[in-house]
């Protein structure tokens, strides 16, 4: 560099007089283009099948355009209404609603907005259904007064709470789904906790985190000795053991979970054995499935290889001379292990733990099959909202919260352990 700057001023030039930087960029452009072409199919596939759908789902967790689209006049008319006054909205609002409902009923869209608002205020859906049935025959010119007409159709139209709900959820974007996902709702004075008996999601999230932690912990305890054996046995036996570790991978997840059902149920293999040995009386067989215990046992088994493999690949790189050195320096077997061997395996434990924990936190099939009611995870609730209750907004909000929790934990892990300390091999 000193040579170049000593002989010429300004940027370094290539042999043909163009600046070296531009010359280099041109030379590298072809390579970069080729690299891009090679990854293009995968990039496109991920974009179309992964990033766009996830983006769309995440948007659904705040999307609320439906109220504005179906009840445009009502939303405008209701904007001036003071929900704290205790009085019903003016006749103008009911007139606007009549016009909106007539249009919506003709397009058969009135039930959609009813269902949407029903998430926030149970009972609203039926009021919309009833009003929609009559709305087709509304005579907008001669009918009215509309306030009385609506009150006659359903007395819920005379409930200020219903109107407050419509007003609260009229903007195109809402935090309602997220509030719902953390057991809150929009009350008169802003966000407030739901009544005790309606709170489910926070408890479920806590349970999911706690059980994932237990599963990760039991995976560590079970995997460590196996990984140690794998890394220290002679080649032949280690290969055999490796096949045994990988065997579950080659079996269908459903088959493995069903096998646990057979083993753990009250008339199952384990209970039969315990009764036969006499440890458990026949009339008090253990309940070890369809609860948290069942979920933890089955998921520990299913996720175990994800813990063993990173641990094994890290242990394999640890030279046995470290242990010998420690012993020659006067350390007992335990001290040598704890002070010298174990710290070097921490990266493997870290990698395995992240893998198992993140897989566990979003696990669905196994808890659904062996979890009963007490051993299900938040993903089961998400699946319920996606496929049964069709409340996609809430499902998306729960999913987004799960994603954020995982990212926060990952960040915390990076702060405490350091992501550089994670090794997969």
């Amino acid at each position: 560099m000193s040579d170049a700057s000593a002989t010429q001023n300004g940027p370094v030039l290539a042999a043909d007089g163009t600046p070296l930087k531009r010359s280099l960029a041109r030379a590298l452009r072809r390579q970069k283009m080729r690299a891009l072409m090679l990854i293009a199919p995968l990039l496109l596939f991920i974009l179309v099948s992964f990033i766009l759908p996830i983006g769309d789902m995440l948007y659904r967790s705040v999307d609320n355009k439906i109220v504005q689209n179906i009840l445009p006049r009502t939303v405008v008319a209701l904007a001036d209404w003071d929900s704290t006054s205790g009085e019903l909205p003016s006749e103008a609002v009911y007139t606007a609603l009549a016009a909106d409902m007539k249009e919506a009923a003709a397009a058969k869209e009135h039930t959609k907005v009813g269902v949407r608002l029903n998430y926030e205020k149970p009972g609203v859906a039926s009021a919309f259904r009833k009003a929609g049935r009559r709305a087709k025959k509304f005579d907008l010119e001669a009918g009215g007064p509309w306030k009385e007409a609506f009150l006659k159709i359903d007395k819920k139209w005379g409930d200020t709470e219903v109107w407050r709900t419509i007003q609260t959820y009229s903007p195109p974007v809402t935090a309602g789904y997220f509030l719902n996902a953390v057991d809150m709702r929009v009350g008169v004075d802003g966000a407030e906790m739901r009544p005790e008996r309606e709170r489910i999601y926070m408890a479920l999230l806590k349970r999911t985190l706690w059980m994932s932690l237990l599963i990760t912990g039991s995976c560590i305890l079970l995997a460590y000795p196996v990984a140690w054996l794998l890394a220290n046995l002679p080649m032949r036996s280690a290969n055999m053991l490796m096949i045994l570790v990988l065997l579950p991978f080659w079996t269908s997840l459903l088959v493995r979970t069903s096998a646990w059902k057979i083993l753990l149920q009250q008339q199952g293999v384990i209970n039969d054995l315990l009764v036969w040995v006499g440890l458990v009386p026949d009339d008090a067989r253990l309940q070890i499935i369809n609860n948290q215990f069942g979920t933890i046992v089955a998921m520990t088994h299913i996720l175990l290889p994800f813990m063993i493999l990173p641990m094994y690949s890290v242990m394999q790189t640890i030279n046995p001379s470290y242990l010998r050195a420690a012993k020659s320096l006067g350390a007992t077997n335990w001290t040598a292990f704890w002070r010298v061997y174990f710290p070097q395996t921490v990266p493997g434990i870290g990698a395995g733990s992240i893998l198992v924990f993140i897989l566990a936190i979003g696990y669905y099939i196994t808890p659904a099959l062996v979890g009963g009611t007490k051993g299900t995870f938040i993903s089961n609730q998400i699946a319920f909202h996606i496929s049964t209750s069709l409340n996609w907004g809430l499902a998306a909000a729960l999913g987004a919260i799960l994603l954020v929790v995982v990212l926060v934990l990952y960040w915390a892990y990076d702060k405490i352990v350091g992501i550089d300390n994670v090794k997969l091999g």
Partner: protein, 367 residues
């Protein structure tokens, strides 16, 4: 079994055997005694049993038969961590997750030494190997030579009376290796530590040791100080393994006291010192060091036998000249001459006569 051995035997192997598979002996009937303060090197090709011996002494392998005594006490059943033997490993085995100072403090910590005493000893040990400024670094931040010094300091910091080194310089480049050879011997002698050093590098063995044990095939072939080992090898293996060596094969025709005459297969005769031959008619392999071969007749004794030789190649090596000859059908006969102003430079194709003092030429076993 703890016998009252030789009073100056600090380390003793008594009839030690070792087998891994129950079929082959890796170490066959090893007997060895070492006085306190000695620097002994176990030298041999790979698979000769030298490392196994070291591991048995350290306690990582158990002897299949026989006793290993330390200061007169059998240590066969003492686990490695209670033997108090310092050890330097081939790959240094510095704990990667600890700093240099923590590495050095480790043996003191497990001995429950107080912190201030510990710090002082660590500092002294680091200064001893000129690594005082590196206590806060991690092993991966040091060069190979620096790691080597730290490994040495760690093996010495708890003041063991016996230190074992398993090819500690194998991974270093030539210059650094030579420097460390000097450092290690200096430290060992200054501190008066008994050292067992394993290597397959014969130069290392010769330059560092008080005595060298040459291993082959599970046995000690010869155990002697370096000069004796080089100048008076006891058998063909040692002669071949240590230093450069010319060999010629023939039959003993005459033995008188400490000289003998050997007739080579092409009929020529030469003078030698009988070592492994006892009677006339025995086949032998004679060994002559390249630097002891003379082609200047004036330096030979009156009536000494000479051999005809043809110069095949002359190699200029700076400090010495290396000349390859054909002697009695052997085309790899090497002579080395010093690059002195009056030195003759032999031309390829020249016919010369070579000879040597009988004590420089040793008639060894034919195998």
């Amino acid at each position: 079994m703890a016998k009252q051995g030789n009073s100056d035997a600090f380390v003793a192997f008594e009839r030690v055997q070792k087998s891994y598979d129950g079929e082959n002996l890796v170490v066959k009937d090893l007997n060895l005694t070492m006085p306190k303060g000695e620097f002994l090197t176990m030298l041999g090709p790979s698979g000769s049993g030298k490392t196994t011996c070291l591991m048995m002494l350290a306690g990582f392998e158990t002897a299949t038969h026989g006793d290993i005594l330390l200061d007169g006490v059998s240590i066969n059943n003492i686990p490695p961590h209670k033997r108090g033997i310092g050890m330097v490993f081939q790959n240094y085995a510095l704990f990667p997750h600890m700093t240099i100072a923590e590495n050095l403090a480790f043996p003191l910590e497990v001995r429950k030494m107080g912190k201030s005493e510990r710090d002082e000893k660590v500092k002294r040990a680091l200064d001893m190997v000129q690594m005082g400024a590196f206590g806060g670094r991690r092993p991966s931040q040091l060069s190979g030579g620096q790691q080597q010094r730290v490994a040495l300091a760690r093996a010495l910091v708890f003041e063991p009376e016996l230190v074992l080194m398993d090819e500690p310089l194998g991974a270093l480049d030539k210059q650094l290796r030579e420097h460390m050879q000097f450092e290690i011997t200096r430290l060992a002698h200054e501190l008066g530590i008994t050292t067992v050093y394993v290597t397959h590098d014969q130069t290392e063995a010769l330059t560092m040791s008080d005595r060298v044990a040459v291993f082959n095939d599970g046995r000690i072939q010869q155990l002697d100080p370096p000069s004796v080992l080089y100048e008076k090898p006891q058998n063909s293996f040692v002669a071949q393994f240590i230093g450069e060596n010319n060999t010629l094969e023939g039959v003993v025709t005459e033995i008188s006291g400490d000289t003998c005459v050997v007739r080579l297969d092409d009929g020529e005769e030469l003078d030698a010192t009988p070592v492994n031959v006892t009677k006339v008619g025995e086949r032998t392999r004679v060994s002559i060091r390249p630097e002891r071969v003379e082609f200047n007749k004036d330096r030979l004794k009156e009536g000494a036998h000479t051999l005809k030789a043809e110069v095949l190649e002359f190699i200029y090596m700076g400090d010495i000249f290396r000349t390859r000859l054909r002697v009695a059908g052997n085309e790899d006969f090497i002579i080395k001459t010093r690059n002195a102003p009056d030195q003759v430079r032999l031309e390829p194709g020249a016919q010369i006569e070579i000879g040597w003092l009988p004590e420089d030429c040793r008639a060894l076993d034919a195998s």
